[in-house]
Every structure is written in C-alpha cells, then in structure tokens.
C-alpha cells in the first residue's frame, strides 16, 4: 500500500469485483460527472482494462451539452456498451421545471427517478452501481455499500441491513435489486486527488474558461443546466481545484438547486429510488 489513495482504490475494486461475481444482470449508472468517471476508471482497474457490463445514463435532455459530447466520445473511444434512458412522455409534454410546468422536485422525480426505474425494470437488472459518496449529503452519509431497494424501488432507510467486515448483502429476494456504492468512503478531495494522479478524463466544464464557463467560473458539480450553477474562481486543472477545495468551507452540492428545496425533499426523492 503506497498511500491513502491506494487504500481507497483497493477497497472500491474489491466491491466492484464482489458485485460482478454475485449479480448476473449488472449495470453502472454513469452520470458523466467526476465521481462516476472515477468509478468507470476503477472498473477498468478491476478487470484489467475491460468493462464487462453496460454504462447506464439517465438523460433528462436538459444536461449541460458538454456532458453529452463527452459521453458519446468516451463510449466510442473506450468501446463500452451505453444504454441511455429518457422519460420522453414527460419531456415531450413539457411537464418540466424549465418549461415552468413543474417544481424542481417534481421535475427531478419524473426525469431522473422515474426514468431510472424504467431503465432498471426494462433491463431486469439485479444490481446497479451508483457513484454516491458519504460526504456529499446527510442521507448518503447513512448509506450502505450494498443497499437494497424493494420491488417498488424504495429505499427502506429505517431498516437497513447490517454491513460489517466487508461482507455485503448479496442475497436478495426476487423482484428487489441492490444499489452498489463503490465510492461511498471517498471524499470530494479524494476524487480530485485521484483524477490528478491517474490522469482520468473528465468533462472540461469542471475547469474555468472551458465551454460556456467564463475565465473565472467553473462547475463544481454537474447536473441539468437550468438547476446547476457555476462557482466563482479560476481553476484550469485538477491540481488548481485541489488548492481551492482545501481552502473552501462550502458544501459541494450547494450549487444543485434541487437540494435546497424543502428540508426533506431530497430524502423523499432518495427514499423513492433516486440516486
């Protein structure tokens, strides 16, 4: 073990391999953000460069355009299977927040949560990987590495399985599925340290002056364009982001508007099946 990043990596690789061994129908939720890009990199570490299951993207059609360009290029370059799901009914009917016909939470609920559920049931997945971290937000701080969802996709956070000694919940009743969280123990700082060390490609708008970012603005967290704002500050690469992060005392998801709605709105979304 050379350093802390090696420990984080080894633990995540163990979890990814464990899920691959235990679940027949497996996919990885790839939001195209920095975390899921690290997660995809760890898959290649686990399987000697191979990516033996599909990447799944829930496309709301409101994503920052650079994300979609990055997604399609990387899928081509690395040659993995990509499954994209969109809730066209709601999108075409314009029952969305950007069209002024839904609250932010209703919009997230339809375009992300419902689309994700339809993606999972259409493909009959036993388990899907999701790149959430404990340090992002309070309900995620209480998650398990292997977290069951019932037949209605709900998260019963009041009755989670015990998880100890790297023995995970890999036995599950028919109709339920497992969310696997290989990055749960990483922090935002760790993610950028690892991106810097491994030279992992990320969407350029994380850096100031890229895409529509002015020279002194960048995205700290990526999501749908209407609900995600940029942060002030110049950072042209991962190491400059690290310098800023170490001085910052502002929560990472403070730029994601849906998190700032009613106190338990995000908890409700997650309980109903959101990432």
């Amino acid at each position: 073990m050379r350093d802390h990043l090696d420990e984080l990596e080894a633990q995540s690789v163990y979890i990814i391999r464990e899920a691959f061994k235990k679940f027949e129908k497996l996919g990885m939720l790839w939001s195209i953000g920095k975390d899921s890009s690290v997660m995809l990199w760890l898959v290649r570490k686990a399987f000697m460069g191979h990516i033996p299951f599909p990447m799944l993207h829930v496309d709301t059609k409101y994503k920052i355009p650079e994300m979609i360009e990055f997604r399609d290029n990387l899928a081509k370059e690395w040659g993995f299977e990509l499954i994209v799901e969109t809730n066209w009914d709601v999108y075409n009917a314009k029952k969305t927040f950007p069209e002024g016909n839904a609250t932010r939470i209703e919009c997230c609920s339809a375009l992300k949560k419902d689309a994700l559920q339809s993606l999972i049931s259409k493909n009959d997945f036993d388990a899907v990987f999701a790149g959430i971290r404990r340090d992002e937000e309070g309900t995620r701080a209480k998650e398990r590495y292997f977290s069951p969802r019932n037949t209605k996709f709900q998260w019963d956070f009041k009755d989670q399985p015990p998880e100890l000694w790297d023995q995970y919940k890999t036995d599950f009743a028919p109709g339920t599925h497992i969310r696997v969280h290989p990055l749960l123990h990483w922090t935002e700082l760790n993610i950028w340290e690892y991106i810097e060390r491994e030279k992992i490609p990320v969407v350029p708008v994380y850096f100031s002056g890229q895409g529509k970012c002015p020279p002194d603005e960048r995205y700290r967290s990526l999501g749908c364009e209407p609900c995600t704002s940029r942060v002030k500050g110049e950072a042209k690469n991962a190491s400059e982001i690290l310098v800023q992060l170490k001085q910052s005392n502002i929560a990472e998801r403070s730029t994601r508007a849906q998190d700032q709605e009613a106190e338990d709105a995000f908890e409700q979304l997650r309980a109903q099946g959101y990432m």
Binding site: H4, A10, Y14, R134, A141, Q160, W165, K246, A251, E267
Partner: protein, 546 residues
C-alpha cells in the same frame, strides 16, 4: 501545489483517516457531542449552522446539535438516531472519520455496522443516568468487534453540577463492568457536550480534572499497526479469463506475494507457482501486500475457484475443518436455534452451517451467563458455539488474522449475525476422509469438472446431438443422455457430478443450480467448447472471453 508554505491552517494532506465510532446508551448525547465538536473546532460547512437553526425553529424546539448528523426527517422529528452516519473531520494533527452510532436497543445492527469500521471508540455515559443497558452491551460488542482503543466519555456533567464525586462514581461502576470482559479503557473524560465544556477547550467548571479535552483525546489515539509481515492469506474472489490469460483475483488479507512464490490453495492443498502479477494502468509492482486488490496468473492451470485461500507454501498450512468454535452475536429478529440451517460467509467462502451446540449464552448487558441447555440465541445476545459446516473451509483464529478469522451469518437473505473464531480444531484431510462422506467438491475434483445440463432444442438435428456428446467425451467429461422416461433421475445424476444431455420438452429442467446450456440451433453447437471450459472451472461463469 504552489502555496504549500502558506497552508498550515488548511486540512492536512489526505492520509489514511483515523476512524472513530461514538457509542453508548440512547440519549446520552452522542450526536450532540459530534455537532458540538464540529462547531467548536470551526469545522461546520458554511450555512450549516443556519440550516440546523431553521430545522429547530420549524419544530419549535431549542437549538439541537444532533441535527448535524441526524439527517433523516424522522430522526429529527423524534430526536433519535436511527442509523449510523459518517462525517469527515480534521484537527491540526490529522484527519478523522467520525462515525455516529445509534444508542437505541432496536438499532443494535446499525451500531454494529458503524463500530465494525472503526479504529477506536468513544463510549458515552450520561453523568445523571449513569451506566445503562446499552452502555454495557456496546462495551461488550466493541470488544467482540476487535476495537482495542476505547475512551469513556462521561457526558452531561452540567446535569451533575460538574461534580467530581459523581464522575468518579460513574467511572468506578463502568470500570468494574469492563474488567469483567477483559477491557482496559485508555481513559475517562468528563464533558458537557451541550454546553461545550471539555469538548474543544478545557472548562473552568471542571478544574478538578487534570486530563485533556475531546480533541486531545482523539489526537492521543494511534493508528492501528499494519500487519505487513504476517503470513500470506489470499482468499480468491473470482477467476477471470481476459486476453487469453486466466487471472485469479482477490484481496490480500495479510502478508505479501510476488512472482515466483509457490502458493498452496486450501481446502484441497493444490500447489502452483505465481507466473505474473497483473495490473492495468499502474506501474508494475514486484510485490504486493495486505489490503491490495490484485490479479495473478499461475504457471500451471489448477482447478481453483472463489473461496479457496492461497498461502505461501513455505509458511505452513492454514487450518481446514467442517467444524469451528466461535463467539457470535445475533442481530436477527428470528432466534438462531440449535440445528437450524443458515449460511456462513467467511472471507470469500460461503457454506451452509448449523449450530451444533451452544456452550455459553451471554446477556451482553448483564453478563449473566447461561451455561447449559440453551437451545436458541435471541436478538442482541452473544454466545459461544460450535458450528458444523456442510463442507470444509479454510480459516484462522481471529487473533491471528481477522480477514480469515471472522464471519457473518446470513439467514433468509439477511446478514443476521457475526462471529469470531476462537478455536480451530485442525483435522487433516486424510483423517477427515476416513470419518466423513465425500463432498460434492471432492467429487468434482476427482472428475475434473462440475455437473451440468445441456438441453437440446426440438429443431436440432440428431447429427449435432451426437457431435456434442462425442466432443464432451473427448474432453474427458462424464456424460449421460437422458431418455424421455428417465426425467425423475435427473437430480440424482447432477448430484453425482454428471453432465446430462436432455430434451427440451421438460420445462421443469430449469433452475436446478447446475451449469446449463440450451442448444436450440446448429450455430449454438460452436459454443460447446466455451461451456466445457466453464464445467472445468477454467472460465468465469459468464462468457466474456475477449
């Protein structure tokens, strides 16, 4: 980084954080201590204080520090921690992960989940209520979970008039309990988390106390030593077949390995040399050690699979047995009765097990011991038992190697208990063979393949059927073609390890648990060689040879 000179006030570099769990009886102030600790050390993220204030105002309650960790609405509404949470924290000395655990008896499984990940523990006891049921049960569980560094925090000193006498009473009572289970705490610290006395600063109200505050206490814990020099324990997690290499993957639990080492795989005792270590996008290392997830190739092809534990041959064998003596804690709603079938997961091994005998049943909060005649272990109880396993597994005593010395018990899809092995009655394979029936694994080893079922589609020609049967036979696989009136024998044949060739008609053939293949068209016949590899354990169960 360019400004390293001016960053002394910033977070220390991301080293391995020390993981601290906070445990103790319900309402003794665990979540409050965490909230106060964050506030008093200036660690709250911007806006957090205001959002906690808003949550409290909405509920019409006074300011509540616990809302920092209690993220669920129902936790805030009831002012009780339901599930364990983790939060990152740093002092000038180092980084921490603070693990807040629930104190309610109903949520012991969540407390165990949090505590099992910790390097050290703060055990809180409220000065006004003193030692309570969960104070004791948590103390006991910490010792079973192998947490050696424990500091007792006597909280709510404000409700005991900051009295030295009361502090000493609580300490004496709890020290007596701990000595009964052989635990020696590193110290006792008086605080008032709600008022902030003794959290990040020493308080004049506690001027009779000569020790450090909570931040000092955290900094006085030490990183658990790494066991790099121990004997090799490498449990196989999976076998991959990538780029025409057969790669054995797993994580090293202790010791180290390098190319050229001779490995022995248990159970079974097969041997081979390591040909190469396999990496992707990483500088090739000569030697890899404990904690690393690795892939290796062998000089000779062996039938080894997930569950086997590799050791370095010159370091001597690992214990193998179908009987273990263990201490276990039970978390399941349904009691664990003597004789009932459950599943044991130890490292990457999984085996059906049943409790053969309960030697001691302990109520972990009173230490009352029931020595004889116990027939079941109830929720939250601790017991010393003998487990009988359906097959032999490889293991260590927990004090030799934790990774191969402790296990969980799965009962009806759920992890329902955990255990540590306290005795390894080693019996050699030969001795066992005289006394025990032959296991399916041993039968497979004799045949060189596992059982399987090949189903012929209705449209498949007779020529193709014969071709498949011959190909299998040529590859030294024991086959049998099932005629229409022999359907009732199928299970027995599969149990015996035979690869059965059958007609499609019988829908009931599905889901028997053996390797299966459906040959519905002439094209499918090409896939028979891949299936043969799978039967011989030379390919992963899913076909993705690339």
């Amino acid at each position: 980084m360019t400004d390293s000179q001016s960053t002394s006030h910033l977070r220390p570099k991301s080293d391995h954080p020390l993981r601290i769990v906070i445990v103790g009886h319900v309402d003794h102030g665990k979540s409050t201590l965490v909230g106060r600790l964050f506030h008093d050390t200036g660690s709250l993220p911007e806006g957090k204080l205001e959002s906690i204030q808003a949550s409290c105002e909405r509920r019409g309650v006074p300011f509540e520090w616990a809302f920092l960790m209690d993220a669920f609405k129902s936790e805030k509404d009831q002012n009780i921690t339901i599930d364990t949470a983790q939060i990152w924290f740093h002092t000038e000395k180092r980084q921490y992960v603070i693990i807040d655990a629930p104190g309610h008896k109903e949520f012991i499984k969540n407390m165990v989940t949090g505590a099992a990940q910790a390097d050290a523990a703060l055990l809180l006891i409220a000065a006004d209520e003193g030692v309570q049921e969960q104070s004791k049960r948590h103390g006991y569980l910490l010792s079973m979970l192998g947490i050696k560094q424990v500091v007792v925090v006597v909280n709510k000193m404000d409700l005991a008039d900051y009295s030295e006498t009361r502090f000493n009473e609580v300490c004496a009572e709890y020290r007596e309990f701990l000595s009964g289970i052989g635990v020696e705490p590193m110290g006792f610290v008086p605080v008032s988390a709600r008022e902030g006395d003794g959290v990040a600063t020493l308080s004049s109200k506690l001027n009779w106390y000569g020790g450090g505050h909570i931040v000092d206490t955290l900094d006085a814990f030490s990183q658990p030593p790494k066991k790099a020099d121990d004997v090799l324990r490498f449990p196989l997690q999976d076998v991959y077949r990538f780029d025409h290499r057969r790669i054995l993957a797993g994580r090293i639990e202790s010791g180290s390995l390098k190319a050229g080492d001779t490995l022995t795989f248990y159970p079974g005792g097969k041997q081979s040399k390591i040909k190469s270590l396999e990496f992707w996008e990483q500088e090739a290392l000569n030697s890899v050690g404990a904690g690393q997830s690795v892939g290796i190739t062998l000089e000779t092809q062996l039938f080894v699979e997930r569950g086997h534990v590799a050791i370095r041959s010159e370091q001597g064998p690992i214990a193998c047995s179908d009987e273990i003596r263990a201490r276990l804690f039970w978390l399941g709603q349904r009691p664990l009765e003597v004789g009932r079938g459950v599943k044991v997961k130890l490292a990457t091994q999984e085996v059906e097990a049943r409790v053969h005998q309960i030697h001691r049943l302990i109520d972990a909060s009173t230490l009352n011991v029931q020595n004889e005649g116990a027939k079941e272990i109830r929720k939250n109880d601790v017991a010393e038992v003998t487990l009988r396993l359906r097959e032999e597994i490889a293991f260590d005593n927990a004090d030799v190697c934790e990774g191969t010395g402790r296990f969980v018990i799965v009962d009806d899809y759920e992890v329902a208990g955990g255990g540590i092995i306290v005795d390894a009655p080693y019996r050699s394979t030969q001795e066992k063979a005289q006394a025990q029936p032959i296991s399916p694994r041993e039968r497979n080893a004799l045949l060189g393949h596992e059982a399987g079922l090949i189903i012929f589609g209705d449209s498949l020609s007779e020529d193709s059927r014969t071709l498949v049967e011959n190909r299998l036979h040529q590859k030294r696989i024991l086959t049998y073609r099932l005629s229409d009136d022999e359907g009732s024998h199928l299970t027995s044949l599969l149990n015996a390890g035979v690869v059965v060739l059958a007609e499609h008609k019988a829908e009931s053939l599905k889901h028997l648990g053996a390797h299966q293949m459906l040959l519905s068209s002439e094209d499918d016949v090409q896939k028979i060689d891949t299936f043969i590899l799978r039967l011989k354990g030379l390919s992963d169960s899913r076909d993705f040879e690339i």
